[in-house]
Amino acid sequence: MIIDNTKPHIDKAHLHQLLKQMLRIRRFEEKCAQLYTQEKIRGFLHLYIGEEAIAVGVMKSLTKDDAVLATFREHGHALARGLEMNKVMAEMYGKVTGSSRGRGGSMHIFDSDLRFYGGNAIVAGALPLAVGLALADKMQNKQNVTVCFFGEGAVAEGEFHESLNLAKLWQLPILFVCENNGYAMGTALEISESEQHIYKKAQSYGLDVRQVNGMNVVDVESVAKHYCDAIRQGAGPCLLECTTYRFRGHSMFDTQLYRSADDVKKWKDKGPIVKLKNWLQANNELSPHELQQIESDVAKEVDSAVAFAEQSAFEDESDLCLGVYTEGKI
């Protein structure tokens, strides 16, 4: 891991914090996978395991007034944005104490106070929303950044192209973050895109673009910070392509016929958590005791989130039709 002078101030405490954030997401989702097999969590469950560095790295540069949009694989983004783990876990359970009162589930986590606007399960469906949120900020002379995460599968959708064009045309304060994990569900990038360098597509719309190793949290943080600063100063929309890999299947139903176990192992060996941990240990910046402390803090948080979700109630069926219109306010 190379740390140069243009990067944000990196010290031991900061790196420990990054590691802890990534571990919170990893352990939370490992628990979710386990709960899924116990049928506590149902529906689709898309795990972010392997990609944690991106949400954690990008989110570090945001203020509380910035807006965030993500996909159906958004547990990590929600936790990194600062949603309470209890609320996110309760949402996975479909309980009324969940971040969306259980109405959304795994794919639709929202928190309007944190300007976390989902949780969108239509591939590329959030990109036009990001354009609108950024347009609203610009029209109201606010200095906010809108960050929109999406996978490389979204690039094949028309809404990706329409949104990038609109964002540049209107010079909007948006950071598009493409999490390129190589597969749109089971379809490899090679068989879905004629031009496989995603940043080049964005470049053709006039966006400032950068490709970064999405397995290196420090690199992601550094480039995201550079872009967020620039966008706040009026640079217009930018796109950050993060190369990454998901270690688990697309969802819990995925038998992964489209890739080899060898490939998965190769990527796991250079995963974001192991990478940071190894670097810290090699430089004597992470003692066994410190690691144990982080792991035990995270385990405690996950356990209490599960207990919270277990103890929470389901929403009363008589409230079913509330929240469709404002008149039927929940």
Binding site: P128, A134, M139, E162, L322
Partner: protein
């Protein structure tokens, strides 16, 4: 726009076209609330495909009258996002056929985000679009898909059929905290009417009795109101007193007004420019059958469009659409049969 001074009490009666009324409504809303802006294809420099926004760009500038590229999903979705972000967008889509390119944003985002987020988000968005046949624009510019939108919980659907409604429904839609889709029938734009002197237009959710009657309820909306009123006048000459209901709001439906009328007249004919199968007319007939069955003297009936894509030649286009003579004939049949039954 003509303004005639009617008397000395400072009361004026303006005679406006539907197009001018809609323009005035947009203009007033933009003056009253700086969060309101208009975005759509050719709304600025061109003045709007149907000239509704003509002159507004000069008044408000390109920052608030925004010409969008041909990206329906993109700019409709941007409207949804801007509404969440605190603005009050009016999005113009050229025709209902083009709105299908934005259906994802309307149905999957605008209609769902409030509920899916557990009630956290509000989407005060207005989407206006032209609808309907009559201008020989063939099978990709002439359809009526109001029922598709009226099927979706989470949005509201309006069909202003009169110039007064064109004048006053927009500001009600903008004041509504939820997404509202407004359908403007292309054959209405040149209609002109004197405006009421006050803005006490009925609430946008309410159906209106446009002609009172006692023997049959003719229920309609949007571009079919004129034909239905014309049919009612002919029926009147033939001694049949028909009541005409203008639905105005297609979701949520004002069923109370519909049921009150049908319970009084005991017969119902629904006139709807949509195709018959799965039509709004079918929904109204089903509701009437469920709620007014024991009042009925005749089976509910529908006058809808023939189920073909709209053809180009005038005679064939007109052959598709509900016609005044058909409405008269169907109404007479219902009244006559009903009398035979009772």
């Amino acid at each position: 726009m003509n303004t005639d001074i009617q008397n000395n009490d400072n009361k004026t009666t303006e005679t406006l076209t539907y197009r001018e009324a809609m323009r005035l409504a947009i203009q007033e809303s933009m003056v009253a609330d700086e969060r309101v802006f208009l975005v759509g294809e050719d709304v600025g420099n061109y003045g709007g495909c149907y000239a509704v926004s003509k002159g507004l760009s000069e008044q408000f500038g390109p920052q608030r009258i925004i010409d969008a590229p041909l990206s329906e999903a993109g700019f409709v979705g941007a409207g949804v996002g801007a509404a969440i972000g605190g603005m009050r967008p009016i999005v113009e889509v050229m025709t209902v056929n083009f709105s299908l390119l934005a259906l994802d944003q309307i149905v999957n985002n605008a209609a769902t985000l409030r509920h899916m987020s557990g009630g956290q988000l509000s989407i005060p968005l207005v989407i206006r679009m032209a609808t309907g046949a009559g201008k020989q624009l063939a099978a990709q510019h002439s359809h009526s898909f109001e029922n598709w939108y009226a099927h979706v919980p989470g949005i509201k659907v309006l069909a202003p059929a009169t110039v007064a409604d064109a004048r006053y429904m927009l500001s009600m839609a903008l004041a509504d905290p939820d997404p509202v889709v407004i359908f403007e029938h292309v054959m209405l734009y040149n209609n002109s009417e004197p405006m009421p002197t006050t803005d006490d237009c009925a609430d946008m959710h309410k159906a209106q009795v446009r002609k009172t009657g006692s023997q049959i309820s003719l229920i309609t909306y949007g571009g079919s109101l004129g034909k239905t009123l014309e049919a009612a006048a002919i029926l009147e000459q033939q001694g049949i007193c028909a009541e005409v209901i203008d639905l105005r709001c297609l979701r949520p439906l004002d069923t109370a007004t519909v049921f009150a009328s049908v319970n009084k007249t005991k017969r119902v004919l629904v006139v709807d420019e949509g195709w018959r199968t799965g039509s709004l007319a079918g929904e109204i007939c089903a509701l009437v059958a469920e709620h007014c069955f024991w009042s009925l003297d005749a089976p509910p009936k529908r006058q809808c469009s023939i189920e073909v894509p709209i053809p180009y030649p005038r005679h064939l286009e007109q052959a598709v659409l509900p016609k005044v003579e058909q409405i008269v004939e169907s109404a007479m049949e219902l009244v006559t049969n009903g009398q035979a039954m009772s």
